[in-house]
Amino acid sequence: MAINVELTHTTATATLAPRAGTVEAVLRFVRTKPLGAAGAVIILGMLLVAASAGMLAPYDAYHADYGAQFSRPSAEHWFGTDEFGRDLMSRIMYGARIALFVGFTASFAGCTIGGLLGVMSAYLGGKVDLLLERFMDILLAFPQLILALAIASILGPAVQNVVIAIAIPIIPRAARVVRATALSVKENVYVEAVNALGATRRRVVLRHIVPNVVAPYIILLTAQLGGAILAEAALSYLGLGAAEPTPSWGLMLSGSALSYAEKAPWIPIFPGIAISLGVFGFNLFGDSLRDALDPKLRKG
Protein backbone atom coordinates (compact mmCIF):
# COMPACT_ATOMS: atom_id res chain seq x y z
CA MET A 1 0.00 0.00 0.00
CA ALA A 2 2.72 2.40 1.03
CA ILE A 3 4.59 1.67 -2.18
CA ASN A 4 1.47 2.40 -4.19
CA VAL A 5 1.02 5.79 -2.59
CA GLU A 6 4.59 6.67 -3.29
CA LEU A 7 4.26 5.57 -6.91
CA THR A 8 1.21 7.70 -7.59
CA HIS A 9 2.94 10.56 -5.89
CA THR A 10 5.95 10.29 -8.16
CA THR A 11 3.85 10.21 -11.32
CA ALA A 12 1.87 13.20 -10.14
CA THR A 13 4.95 15.35 -9.62
CA ALA A 14 6.49 14.07 -12.80
CA THR A 15 3.57 15.32 -14.89
CA LEU A 16 3.36 18.58 -13.00
CA ALA A 17 7.06 19.24 -12.82
CA PRO A 18 7.73 20.84 -16.22
CA ARG A 19 4.98 23.44 -15.86
CA ALA A 20 5.72 24.44 -12.29
CA GLY A 21 9.42 24.35 -13.21
CA THR A 22 9.04 26.85 -16.03
CA VAL A 23 7.02 29.32 -13.97
CA GLU A 24 9.40 28.91 -11.07
CA ALA A 25 12.43 29.34 -13.29
CA VAL A 26 10.98 32.57 -14.72
CA LEU A 27 10.19 33.87 -11.24
CA ARG A 28 13.66 32.98 -10.01
CA PHE A 29 15.17 34.72 -13.03
CA VAL A 30 13.16 37.87 -12.23
CA ARG A 31 14.12 37.75 -8.56
CA THR A 32 17.84 37.04 -8.96
CA LYS A 33 18.41 38.92 -12.21
CA PRO A 34 16.37 42.13 -12.05
CA LEU A 35 18.47 43.65 -14.83
CA GLY A 36 17.70 40.72 -17.11
CA ALA A 37 14.00 41.05 -16.34
CA ALA A 38 14.19 44.77 -17.18
CA GLY A 39 15.79 43.78 -20.49
CA ALA A 40 12.97 41.32 -21.17
CA VAL A 41 10.41 44.08 -20.53
CA ILE A 42 12.17 46.38 -23.03
CA ILE A 43 12.25 43.57 -25.62
CA LEU A 44 8.56 42.81 -25.13
CA GLY A 45 7.72 46.51 -25.43
CA MET A 46 9.70 46.75 -28.66
CA LEU A 47 7.99 43.63 -30.06
CA LEU A 48 4.59 45.08 -29.15
CA VAL A 49 5.33 48.43 -30.81
CA ALA A 50 6.65 46.71 -33.94
CA ALA A 51 3.66 44.36 -34.16
CA SER A 52 1.04 47.06 -33.70
CA ALA A 53 2.85 49.96 -35.42
CA GLY A 54 -0.05 50.13 -37.87
CA MET A 55 -2.49 50.86 -35.04
CA LEU A 56 -0.26 52.81 -32.66
CA ALA A 57 1.48 55.15 -35.07
CA PRO A 58 -0.37 58.47 -35.27
CA TYR A 59 0.75 59.21 -38.87
CA ASP A 60 1.87 57.45 -42.04
CA ALA A 61 5.64 56.92 -41.70
CA TYR A 62 6.20 57.79 -45.37
CA HIS A 63 3.83 60.73 -45.68
CA ALA A 64 5.67 64.00 -46.30
CA ASP A 65 3.84 67.06 -45.00
CA TYR A 66 5.67 70.12 -46.29
CA GLY A 67 3.50 72.40 -44.16
CA ALA A 68 4.92 70.83 -41.03
CA GLN A 69 8.69 70.66 -41.74
CA PHE A 70 10.96 70.79 -38.68
CA SER A 71 8.03 70.94 -36.20
CA ARG A 72 9.18 70.92 -32.60
CA PRO A 73 7.95 68.08 -30.41
CA SER A 74 4.34 69.03 -29.56
CA ALA A 75 0.95 67.52 -28.83
CA GLU A 76 0.40 66.71 -32.55
CA HIS A 77 3.91 65.43 -33.16
CA TRP A 78 5.30 64.03 -29.89
CA PHE A 79 8.82 63.58 -31.25
CA GLY A 80 8.58 66.42 -33.81
CA THR A 81 8.96 66.09 -37.58
CA ASP A 82 11.94 65.81 -39.95
CA GLU A 83 13.00 67.89 -42.96
CA PHE A 84 10.15 66.45 -45.05
CA GLY A 85 7.57 67.04 -42.33
CA ARG A 86 7.31 63.30 -41.62
CA ASP A 87 6.22 62.39 -38.09
CA LEU A 88 9.28 61.07 -36.23
CA MET A 89 7.34 58.99 -33.71
CA SER A 90 5.56 57.08 -36.46
CA ARG A 91 8.84 56.55 -38.29
CA ILE A 92 10.49 55.24 -35.15
CA MET A 93 7.58 52.84 -34.53
CA TYR A 94 7.80 51.43 -38.07
CA GLY A 95 11.59 51.44 -37.71
CA ALA A 96 11.25 48.93 -34.85
CA ARG A 97 9.97 46.43 -37.44
CA ILE A 98 13.09 46.80 -39.56
CA ALA A 99 15.44 46.67 -36.58
CA LEU A 100 13.79 43.53 -35.21
CA PHE A 101 13.50 41.88 -38.62
CA VAL A 102 17.18 42.41 -39.45
CA GLY A 103 18.30 41.60 -35.89
CA PHE A 104 16.38 38.33 -35.64
CA THR A 105 16.92 37.00 -39.16
CA ALA A 106 20.62 37.89 -39.30
CA SER A 107 21.53 36.46 -35.91
CA PHE A 108 19.28 33.42 -36.39
CA ALA A 109 20.77 32.64 -39.80
CA GLY A 110 24.35 33.31 -38.66
CA CYS A 111 24.09 31.29 -35.43
CA THR A 112 22.23 28.40 -37.05
CA ILE A 113 24.56 28.00 -40.01
CA GLY A 114 27.57 28.48 -37.75
CA GLY A 115 26.16 26.11 -35.13
CA LEU A 116 25.50 23.35 -37.68
CA LEU A 117 29.01 23.74 -39.09
CA GLY A 118 30.37 23.62 -35.54
CA VAL A 119 28.53 20.37 -34.72
CA MET A 120 29.65 18.87 -38.04
CA SER A 121 33.23 19.92 -37.42
CA ALA A 122 33.27 18.45 -33.92
CA TYR A 123 31.47 15.22 -34.74
CA LEU A 124 33.22 14.32 -37.98
CA GLY A 125 36.64 15.47 -36.80
CA GLY A 126 39.72 14.73 -38.94
CA LYS A 127 40.12 16.47 -42.28
CA VAL A 128 36.64 18.01 -42.29
CA ASP A 129 37.31 19.58 -38.91
CA LEU A 130 40.71 20.84 -39.99
CA LEU A 131 39.41 22.40 -43.20
CA LEU A 132 36.39 24.01 -41.57
CA GLU A 133 38.53 25.34 -38.73
CA ARG A 134 41.03 26.91 -41.13
CA PHE A 135 38.21 28.46 -43.11
CA MET A 136 36.67 29.90 -39.93
CA ASP A 137 40.10 31.27 -38.96
CA ILE A 138 40.24 33.10 -42.27
CA LEU A 139 36.77 34.57 -41.80
CA LEU A 140 37.68 35.55 -38.24
CA ALA A 141 40.66 37.49 -39.55
CA PHE A 142 38.23 40.14 -40.77
CA PRO A 143 36.79 42.54 -38.21
CA GLN A 144 33.01 42.11 -38.08
CA LEU A 145 31.98 45.55 -39.32
CA ILE A 146 34.64 45.62 -42.07
CA LEU A 147 33.47 42.28 -43.49
CA ALA A 148 29.83 43.40 -43.30
CA LEU A 149 30.81 46.66 -45.02
CA ALA A 150 32.56 44.81 -47.85
CA ILE A 151 29.65 42.42 -48.40
CA ALA A 152 27.06 45.19 -48.22
CA SER A 153 29.03 47.31 -50.70
CA ILE A 154 29.03 44.45 -53.20
CA LEU A 155 25.38 43.52 -52.72
CA GLY A 156 24.08 47.08 -52.75
CA PRO A 157 21.84 48.91 -50.29
CA ALA A 158 18.69 46.91 -49.48
CA VAL A 159 17.25 45.40 -46.30
CA GLN A 160 17.72 41.75 -47.32
CA ASN A 161 21.35 42.42 -48.31
CA VAL A 162 21.98 43.91 -44.89
CA VAL A 163 20.74 40.66 -43.34
CA ILE A 164 23.28 38.68 -45.40
CA ALA A 165 26.08 41.16 -44.68
CA ILE A 166 25.47 40.93 -40.92
CA ALA A 167 24.84 37.17 -40.81
CA ILE A 168 28.08 36.08 -42.53
CA PRO A 169 30.50 37.49 -39.92
CA ILE A 170 28.43 35.78 -37.17
CA ILE A 171 28.94 32.31 -38.72
CA PRO A 172 32.58 31.68 -37.69
CA ARG A 173 31.95 33.03 -34.18
CA ALA A 174 28.98 30.71 -33.68
CA ALA A 175 30.81 27.77 -35.24
CA ARG A 176 33.73 28.19 -32.86
CA VAL A 177 31.60 28.27 -29.68
CA VAL A 178 29.31 25.40 -30.70
CA ARG A 179 32.24 23.27 -31.90
CA ALA A 180 33.98 23.61 -28.54
CA THR A 181 30.84 22.57 -26.65
CA ALA A 182 30.09 19.72 -29.04
CA LEU A 183 33.64 18.43 -28.66
CA SER A 184 33.28 18.21 -24.89
CA VAL A 185 29.81 16.65 -25.19
CA LYS A 186 31.22 14.03 -27.55
CA GLU A 187 33.68 12.92 -24.88
CA ASN A 188 30.88 12.14 -22.40
CA VAL A 189 30.38 8.54 -21.29
CA TYR A 190 26.76 8.48 -22.43
CA VAL A 191 27.76 9.25 -26.01
CA GLU A 192 30.22 6.39 -25.84
CA ALA A 193 27.42 4.24 -24.41
CA VAL A 194 24.92 4.98 -27.19
CA ASN A 195 27.65 4.42 -29.74
CA ALA A 196 28.38 1.05 -28.16
CA LEU A 197 24.68 0.21 -28.24
CA GLY A 198 24.83 0.60 -32.00
CA ALA A 199 23.00 3.89 -32.45
CA THR A 200 23.23 5.41 -35.92
CA ARG A 201 25.31 8.54 -36.49
CA ARG A 202 22.16 10.47 -37.21
CA ARG A 203 20.66 9.43 -33.89
CA VAL A 204 23.79 10.25 -31.90
CA VAL A 205 24.05 13.71 -33.42
CA LEU A 206 20.38 14.62 -33.33
CA ARG A 207 19.34 13.04 -30.03
CA HIS A 208 22.48 13.36 -27.95
CA ILE A 209 24.82 16.04 -29.24
CA VAL A 210 22.44 18.69 -30.62
CA PRO A 211 20.25 18.93 -27.45
CA ASN A 212 23.38 19.49 -25.39
CA VAL A 213 24.62 22.41 -27.46
CA VAL A 214 21.25 24.16 -27.37
CA ALA A 215 22.13 26.18 -24.25
CA PRO A 216 25.27 27.81 -25.68
CA TYR A 217 23.42 28.26 -28.96
CA ILE A 218 20.66 30.23 -27.24
CA ILE A 219 23.14 32.30 -25.24
CA LEU A 220 24.98 33.06 -28.46
CA LEU A 221 21.79 33.98 -30.28
CA THR A 222 20.64 36.45 -27.61
CA ALA A 223 24.15 37.88 -27.39
CA GLN A 224 24.24 38.47 -31.17
CA LEU A 225 20.79 40.08 -31.38
CA GLY A 226 21.79 43.42 -29.88
CA GLY A 227 24.95 43.50 -31.96
CA ALA A 228 23.01 42.75 -35.15
CA ILE A 229 20.56 45.60 -34.51
CA LEU A 230 23.50 47.91 -33.88
CA ALA A 231 25.27 46.71 -37.03
CA GLU A 232 22.13 47.41 -39.08
CA ALA A 233 22.02 50.93 -37.67
CA ALA A 234 25.72 51.46 -38.42
CA LEU A 235 25.45 50.16 -42.01
CA SER A 236 22.36 52.29 -42.68
CA TYR A 237 24.11 55.28 -41.12
CA LEU A 238 27.05 54.76 -43.49
CA GLY A 239 24.64 54.59 -46.42
CA LEU A 240 24.98 50.85 -47.03
CA GLY A 241 21.81 49.64 -45.37
CA ALA A 242 18.20 50.39 -46.08
CA ALA A 243 17.65 53.20 -48.60
CA GLU A 244 15.39 56.24 -48.22
CA PRO A 245 12.49 56.50 -47.54
CA THR A 246 12.61 53.28 -45.44
CA PRO A 247 12.24 54.29 -41.79
CA SER A 248 15.45 52.62 -40.60
CA TRP A 249 16.77 54.05 -37.33
CA GLY A 250 20.36 54.26 -38.55
CA LEU A 251 19.31 55.97 -41.76
CA MET A 252 17.35 58.56 -39.78
CA LEU A 253 20.65 59.58 -38.14
CA SER A 254 22.69 59.81 -41.33
CA GLY A 255 23.61 62.69 -43.58
CA SER A 256 21.02 65.42 -43.22
CA ALA A 257 20.30 64.70 -39.56
CA LEU A 258 23.56 66.30 -38.46
CA SER A 259 23.35 69.26 -40.82
CA TYR A 260 19.91 70.17 -39.47
CA ALA A 261 20.80 69.21 -35.92
CA GLU A 262 21.43 72.71 -34.63
CA LYS A 263 18.06 73.86 -35.92
CA ALA A 264 16.16 70.68 -35.07
CA PRO A 265 18.05 68.62 -32.49
CA TRP A 266 15.09 66.25 -32.05
CA ILE A 267 15.79 64.70 -35.46
CA PRO A 268 18.99 62.94 -34.33
CA ILE A 269 17.98 62.56 -30.67
CA PHE A 270 14.91 60.30 -30.80
CA PRO A 271 16.09 57.64 -33.29
CA GLY A 272 19.34 57.39 -31.29
CA ILE A 273 17.38 56.77 -28.11
CA ALA A 274 15.37 54.08 -29.89
CA ILE A 275 18.51 52.24 -31.07
CA SER A 276 20.23 52.52 -27.69
CA LEU A 277 17.19 51.39 -25.72
CA GLY A 278 16.49 48.42 -27.99
CA VAL A 279 20.08 47.18 -28.04
CA PHE A 280 20.35 47.86 -24.29
CA GLY A 281 17.31 45.63 -23.67
CA PHE A 282 18.71 42.75 -25.72
CA ASN A 283 22.16 43.08 -24.13
CA LEU A 284 20.77 43.18 -20.57
CA PHE A 285 18.66 40.12 -21.21
CA GLY A 286 21.42 38.21 -22.99
CA ASP A 287 23.94 39.05 -20.30
CA SER A 288 21.72 37.86 -17.44
CA LEU A 289 20.73 34.76 -19.37
CA ARG A 290 24.40 33.88 -19.75
CA ASP A 291 25.02 34.52 -16.07
CA ALA A 292 22.05 32.29 -15.18
CA LEU A 293 22.95 29.45 -17.55
CA ASP A 294 26.73 29.44 -17.30
CA PRO A 295 27.68 27.41 -14.20
CA LYS A 296 31.14 28.99 -14.12
CA LEU A 297 29.67 32.41 -13.33
CA ARG A 298 26.93 31.26 -10.97
CA LYS A 299 27.32 32.69 -7.51
CA GLY A 300 28.66 30.61 -4.61
Partner: protein, 318 residues
Protein backbone atom coordinates in the same frame (compact mmCIF):
# COMPACT_ATOMS: atom_id res chain seq x y z
CA UNK B 1 59.67 29.59 -26.64
CA UNK B 2 61.47 29.43 -29.99
CA UNK B 3 59.57 26.35 -31.16
CA UNK B 4 56.30 27.99 -30.18
CA UNK B 5 57.28 31.17 -32.01
CA UNK B 6 58.14 29.32 -35.21
CA UNK B 7 54.97 27.22 -35.03
CA UNK B 8 52.82 30.27 -34.47
CA UNK B 9 54.53 32.21 -37.29
CA UNK B 10 54.02 29.33 -39.72
CA UNK B 11 50.37 29.15 -38.77
CA UNK B 12 49.61 32.70 -39.91
CA UNK B 13 50.85 32.06 -43.45
CA UNK B 14 47.84 29.95 -44.55
CA UNK B 15 45.48 32.36 -42.77
CA UNK B 16 46.87 35.38 -44.60
CA UNK B 17 46.90 33.51 -47.90
CA UNK B 18 43.29 32.51 -47.29
CA UNK B 19 42.37 36.08 -46.42
CA UNK B 20 43.97 37.36 -49.64
CA UNK B 21 42.07 34.73 -51.62
CA UNK B 22 38.79 35.54 -49.90
CA UNK B 23 39.20 39.26 -50.59
CA UNK B 24 39.91 38.45 -54.22
CA UNK B 25 36.80 36.27 -54.42
CA UNK B 26 34.52 38.78 -52.67
CA UNK B 27 35.71 41.80 -54.61
CA UNK B 28 36.46 40.38 -58.05
CA UNK B 29 34.60 37.19 -58.72
CA UNK B 30 31.29 37.34 -56.89
CA UNK B 31 30.10 40.75 -58.10
CA UNK B 32 30.50 39.74 -61.76
CA UNK B 33 31.73 42.69 -63.80
CA UNK B 34 33.56 45.07 -61.46
CA UNK B 35 33.99 47.62 -64.25
CA UNK B 36 30.21 47.77 -64.61
CA UNK B 37 29.80 48.13 -60.84
CA UNK B 38 32.22 51.05 -60.83
CA UNK B 39 30.00 52.88 -63.29
CA UNK B 40 27.03 52.18 -61.07
CA UNK B 41 25.53 49.25 -62.95
CA UNK B 42 24.15 49.34 -66.47
CA UNK B 43 20.42 49.38 -65.94
CA UNK B 44 19.50 51.73 -68.78
CA UNK B 45 22.51 51.26 -71.05
CA UNK B 46 23.90 54.75 -70.52
CA UNK B 47 27.51 53.67 -70.23
CA UNK B 48 29.88 54.34 -73.05
CA UNK B 49 31.17 50.90 -74.16
CA UNK B 50 34.58 52.43 -74.91
CA UNK B 51 34.94 53.69 -71.35
CA UNK B 52 33.83 50.32 -70.04
CA UNK B 53 36.42 48.53 -72.13
CA UNK B 54 39.11 50.99 -71.01
CA UNK B 55 38.19 50.40 -67.36
CA UNK B 56 38.29 46.61 -67.88
CA UNK B 57 41.73 46.94 -69.42
CA UNK B 58 42.93 49.23 -66.60
CA UNK B 59 41.77 46.80 -63.92
CA UNK B 60 43.22 43.84 -65.78
CA UNK B 61 39.81 42.22 -66.06
CA UNK B 62 40.54 40.95 -69.55
CA UNK B 63 43.22 38.61 -68.25
CA UNK B 64 42.31 35.06 -67.32
CA UNK B 65 41.22 34.65 -63.69
CA UNK B 66 44.40 32.86 -62.59
CA UNK B 67 46.55 35.66 -64.01
CA UNK B 68 44.44 38.23 -62.16
CA UNK B 69 44.77 36.21 -58.97
CA UNK B 70 48.53 35.90 -59.44
CA UNK B 71 48.88 39.64 -60.04
CA UNK B 72 46.82 40.37 -56.93
CA UNK B 73 48.87 38.01 -54.75
CA UNK B 74 52.18 39.32 -56.09
CA UNK B 75 50.95 42.84 -55.35
CA UNK B 76 49.92 41.84 -51.83
CA UNK B 77 53.36 40.42 -51.10
CA UNK B 78 55.02 43.70 -52.14
CA UNK B 79 52.32 45.85 -50.50
CA UNK B 80 51.48 47.18 -53.93
CA UNK B 81 47.72 47.49 -54.25
CA UNK B 82 47.53 49.48 -57.44
CA UNK B 83 46.22 53.01 -57.78
CA UNK B 84 43.05 54.57 -56.47
CA UNK B 85 40.40 55.08 -59.14
CA UNK B 86 39.27 58.25 -57.41
CA UNK B 87 42.55 60.15 -56.94
CA UNK B 88 44.89 58.23 -59.24
CA UNK B 89 47.48 58.00 -56.46
CA UNK B 90 48.99 54.67 -55.33
CA UNK B 91 46.70 53.14 -52.70
CA UNK B 92 49.51 52.55 -50.25
CA UNK B 93 50.55 56.24 -50.32
CA UNK B 94 46.99 57.40 -49.71
CA UNK B 95 46.88 55.00 -46.81
CA UNK B 96 50.14 56.11 -45.20
CA UNK B 97 48.97 59.75 -45.18
CA UNK B 98 45.94 58.75 -43.12
CA UNK B 99 47.62 56.26 -40.83
CA UNK B 100 49.02 58.58 -38.08
CA UNK B 101 45.57 59.98 -37.26
CA UNK B 102 43.98 56.56 -36.88
CA UNK B 103 46.92 55.23 -34.88
CA UNK B 104 46.74 58.17 -32.49
CA UNK B 105 42.99 57.72 -32.09
CA UNK B 106 43.30 53.98 -31.52
CA UNK B 107 46.17 54.25 -29.05
CA UNK B 108 44.64 56.95 -26.86
CA UNK B 109 41.17 55.42 -27.00
CA UNK B 110 42.65 52.15 -25.72
CA UNK B 111 44.35 54.02 -22.90
CA UNK B 112 41.15 55.84 -21.94
CA UNK B 113 39.25 52.55 -21.98
CA UNK B 114 41.77 50.77 -19.74
CA UNK B 115 41.77 53.59 -17.20
CA UNK B 116 37.96 53.42 -16.99
CA UNK B 117 37.51 49.68 -17.34
CA UNK B 118 39.88 47.93 -14.96
CA UNK B 119 38.86 49.60 -11.68
CA UNK B 120 35.17 49.45 -12.60
CA UNK B 121 35.22 45.83 -13.70
CA UNK B 122 37.07 44.78 -10.57
CA UNK B 123 34.67 46.68 -8.33
CA UNK B 124 31.65 45.08 -10.00
CA UNK B 125 33.09 41.59 -9.59
CA UNK B 126 33.96 42.02 -5.94
CA UNK B 127 30.49 43.38 -5.22
CA UNK B 128 28.62 40.94 -7.50
CA UNK B 129 24.81 41.30 -7.40
CA UNK B 130 24.83 44.46 -5.30
CA UNK B 131 23.84 47.94 -6.46
CA UNK B 132 27.51 48.73 -7.27
CA UNK B 133 27.56 45.79 -9.66
CA UNK B 134 24.26 46.89 -11.22
CA UNK B 135 25.45 50.47 -11.76
CA UNK B 136 28.70 49.31 -13.37
CA UNK B 137 26.90 46.80 -15.55
CA UNK B 138 24.31 49.33 -16.69
CA UNK B 139 27.16 51.73 -17.49
CA UNK B 140 29.06 49.13 -19.49
CA UNK B 141 26.10 47.51 -21.22
CA UNK B 142 24.94 51.03 -22.03
CA UNK B 143 28.30 51.78 -23.60
CA UNK B 144 27.83 48.77 -25.85
CA UNK B 145 24.23 49.62 -26.70
CA UNK B 146 24.68 53.28 -27.61
CA UNK B 147 25.85 53.54 -31.23
CA UNK B 148 29.25 55.22 -31.52
CA UNK B 149 28.05 57.50 -34.29
CA UNK B 150 25.16 58.70 -32.14
CA UNK B 151 27.48 59.56 -29.24
CA UNK B 152 29.55 61.44 -31.81
CA UNK B 153 26.53 63.33 -33.16
CA UNK B 154 25.40 64.29 -29.65
CA UNK B 155 28.93 65.40 -28.70
CA UNK B 156 29.24 67.60 -31.78
CA UNK B 157 25.74 68.94 -31.19
CA UNK B 158 26.56 69.80 -27.57
CA UNK B 159 29.84 71.45 -28.53
CA UNK B 160 28.23 73.46 -31.33
CA UNK B 161 25.31 74.62 -29.21
CA UNK B 162 27.18 75.42 -26.00
CA UNK B 163 30.64 76.42 -27.21
CA UNK B 164 30.13 77.38 -30.84
CA UNK B 165 32.73 74.74 -31.70
CA UNK B 166 33.16 73.52 -35.26
CA UNK B 167 35.10 70.41 -36.25
CA UNK B 168 38.52 71.42 -37.65
CA UNK B 169 39.13 70.45 -41.25
CA UNK B 170 42.86 69.72 -41.31
CA UNK B 171 44.68 67.15 -39.22
CA UNK B 172 47.50 68.68 -37.17
CA UNK B 173 50.02 66.09 -35.99
CA UNK B 174 50.88 66.31 -32.28
CA UNK B 175 54.54 67.08 -33.01
CA UNK B 176 53.55 70.20 -35.00
CA UNK B 177 51.07 71.76 -32.59
CA UNK B 178 50.16 69.63 -29.58
CA UNK B 179 47.30 71.90 -28.49
CA UNK B 180 45.59 72.03 -31.90
CA UNK B 181 45.97 68.28 -32.13
CA UNK B 182 44.51 67.76 -28.66
CA UNK B 183 41.49 70.00 -29.22
CA UNK B 184 40.75 68.12 -32.42
CA UNK B 185 41.27 64.60 -31.16
CA UNK B 186 40.00 64.68 -27.59
CA UNK B 187 36.28 64.17 -28.36
CA UNK B 188 36.72 61.34 -30.85
CA UNK B 189 39.15 59.69 -28.41
CA UNK B 190 36.67 59.91 -25.54
CA UNK B 191 33.83 58.63 -27.75
CA UNK B 192 35.74 55.58 -28.95
CA UNK B 193 37.33 55.06 -25.53
CA UNK B 194 34.02 54.94 -23.69
CA UNK B 195 32.55 52.37 -26.06
CA UNK B 196 35.74 50.33 -25.96
CA UNK B 197 35.78 50.50 -22.13
CA UNK B 198 32.36 48.84 -22.07
CA UNK B 199 33.83 45.68 -23.58
CA UNK B 200 36.89 45.69 -21.33
CA UNK B 201 34.83 46.35 -18.19
CA UNK B 202 32.71 43.30 -18.90
CA UNK B 203 35.77 41.16 -19.51
CA UNK B 204 37.48 42.35 -16.34
CA UNK B 205 34.32 41.63 -14.36
CA UNK B 206 33.94 38.10 -15.61
CA UNK B 207 37.62 37.14 -15.34
CA UNK B 208 37.85 38.54 -11.80
CA UNK B 209 34.64 36.64 -10.98
CA UNK B 210 36.18 33.41 -12.24
CA UNK B 211 39.42 33.98 -10.34
CA UNK B 212 37.51 34.77 -7.15
CA UNK B 213 36.14 31.21 -7.25
CA UNK B 214 39.65 29.71 -7.22
CA UNK B 215 41.01 27.70 -4.32
CA UNK B 216 43.94 30.02 -3.70
CA UNK B 217 41.53 32.90 -3.13
CA UNK B 218 39.69 30.82 -0.55
CA UNK B 219 43.06 30.11 1.05
CA UNK B 220 43.91 33.80 1.05
CA UNK B 221 40.62 34.57 2.80
CA UNK B 222 41.12 31.66 5.19
CA UNK B 223 44.49 32.86 6.35
CA UNK B 224 42.77 36.08 7.36
CA UNK B 225 44.09 38.51 4.76
CA UNK B 226 42.33 41.85 4.43
CA UNK B 227 39.95 42.28 1.49
CA UNK B 228 42.33 44.75 -0.18
CA UNK B 229 45.13 42.23 -0.16
CA UNK B 230 42.97 39.40 -1.43
CA UNK B 231 41.43 41.42 -4.22
CA UNK B 232 44.40 43.44 -5.41
CA UNK B 233 47.34 41.17 -4.74
CA UNK B 234 45.72 37.83 -5.50
CA UNK B 235 42.59 38.26 -7.62
CA UNK B 236 43.47 41.26 -9.77
CA UNK B 237 47.00 40.14 -10.50
CA UNK B 238 45.81 36.76 -11.67
CA UNK B 239 43.00 38.09 -13.82
CA UNK B 240 45.10 40.76 -15.55
CA UNK B 241 46.71 38.49 -18.11
CA UNK B 242 43.51 37.43 -19.85
CA UNK B 243 42.27 41.03 -19.74
CA UNK B 244 45.47 42.38 -21.30
CA UNK B 245 45.32 39.86 -24.10
CA UNK B 246 41.63 40.49 -24.64
CA UNK B 247 42.31 44.21 -25.01
CA UNK B 248 44.54 43.17 -27.89
CA UNK B 249 41.98 40.91 -29.49
CA UNK B 250 39.32 43.59 -29.24
CA UNK B 251 41.32 45.44 -31.88
CA UNK B 252 38.58 44.47 -34.33
CA UNK B 253 36.06 46.30 -32.23
CA UNK B 254 38.32 49.32 -32.28
CA UNK B 255 38.49 49.26 -36.09
CA UNK B 256 34.69 49.30 -36.25
CA UNK B 257 34.73 52.23 -33.82
CA UNK B 258 37.21 54.10 -36.01
CA UNK B 259 35.07 53.64 -39.12
CA UNK B 260 31.96 55.27 -37.64
CA UNK B 261 33.71 57.79 -35.37
CA UNK B 262 35.98 59.16 -38.08
CA UNK B 263 32.95 59.50 -40.32
CA UNK B 264 30.96 61.44 -37.70
CA UNK B 265 33.82 63.74 -36.76
CA UNK B 266 34.92 64.06 -40.42
CA UNK B 267 38.45 62.99 -39.51
CA UNK B 268 40.53 61.97 -42.49
CA UNK B 269 41.75 58.62 -41.17
CA UNK B 270 41.76 55.01 -42.32
CA UNK B 271 38.19 54.36 -41.15
CA UNK B 272 36.75 57.18 -43.18
CA UNK B 273 38.95 56.17 -46.11
CA UNK B 274 37.12 52.80 -46.18
CA UNK B 275 33.69 54.44 -46.13
CA UNK B 276 34.65 56.96 -48.82
CA UNK B 277 36.17 54.26 -51.01
CA UNK B 278 32.98 52.21 -50.75
CA UNK B 279 30.89 55.27 -51.60
CA UNK B 280 33.10 56.13 -54.61
CA UNK B 281 33.17 52.50 -55.75
CA UNK B 282 36.95 52.74 -55.56
CA UNK B 283 37.46 48.97 -55.64
CA UNK B 284 41.28 48.82 -55.55
CA UNK B 285 41.16 50.86 -52.32
CA UNK B 286 38.34 48.82 -50.75
CA UNK B 287 40.16 45.61 -51.63
CA UNK B 288 43.45 46.85 -50.18
CA UNK B 289 41.93 48.20 -46.99
CA UNK B 290 39.90 45.09 -46.27
CA UNK B 291 42.92 42.89 -46.75
CA UNK B 292 45.12 45.18 -44.65
CA UNK B 293 42.68 45.29 -41.72
CA UNK B 294 42.66 41.49 -41.78
CA UNK B 295 46.46 41.51 -42.01
CA UNK B 296 46.90 43.84 -39.05
CA UNK B 297 44.27 41.93 -37.10
CA UNK B 298 46.20 38.68 -37.61
CA UNK B 299 49.46 40.38 -36.58
CA UNK B 300 47.88 41.86 -33.44
CA UNK B 301 46.51 38.44 -32.52
CA UNK B 302 49.94 36.94 -33.07
CA UNK B 303 51.54 39.50 -30.76
CA UNK B 304 48.83 38.86 -28.17
CA UNK B 305 49.41 35.12 -28.29
CA UNK B 306 53.16 35.59 -27.99
CA UNK B 307 52.76 37.88 -24.97
CA UNK B 308 50.50 35.32 -23.41
CA UNK B 309 52.95 32.51 -24.06
CA UNK B 310 55.76 34.62 -22.67
CA UNK B 311 53.89 35.01 -19.39
CA UNK B 312 52.23 31.62 -19.18
CA UNK B 313 54.55 28.61 -19.62
CA UNK B 314 51.57 26.25 -19.83
CA UNK B 315 50.90 27.56 -23.35
CA UNK B 316 54.47 27.38 -24.59
CA UNK B 317 54.83 23.75 -23.70
CA UNK B 318 51.19 22.70 -24.06
Amino acid sequence: MRTYLVKRLLLIVPTLLGAATLVFLIMRVIPGDVALLIFGGDAAGHIDPKQLAAMREKLGLNDPLYVQFGTWLWGVVRFDFGTSLWTGQPVIEELLIRLPLSLELALFATMVSVVIAIPLGMLAAVRQDTWVDYVVRVFSIGGLAIPGFWVGILTILGLVIFFGWGPPLEFTPPWVDPWANFSMMVWPIVTVGYRFSAVTTRMTRSTVLEVLREDYIRTAWAKGLAERAVVIRHALKNSMLPVITLIGTEFAFLIGGLVVTETVFTLNGIGRFVVDAVAHRDYPVVQALIFLTAFSFVIVNLLVDLTYAWFDPRIRYG
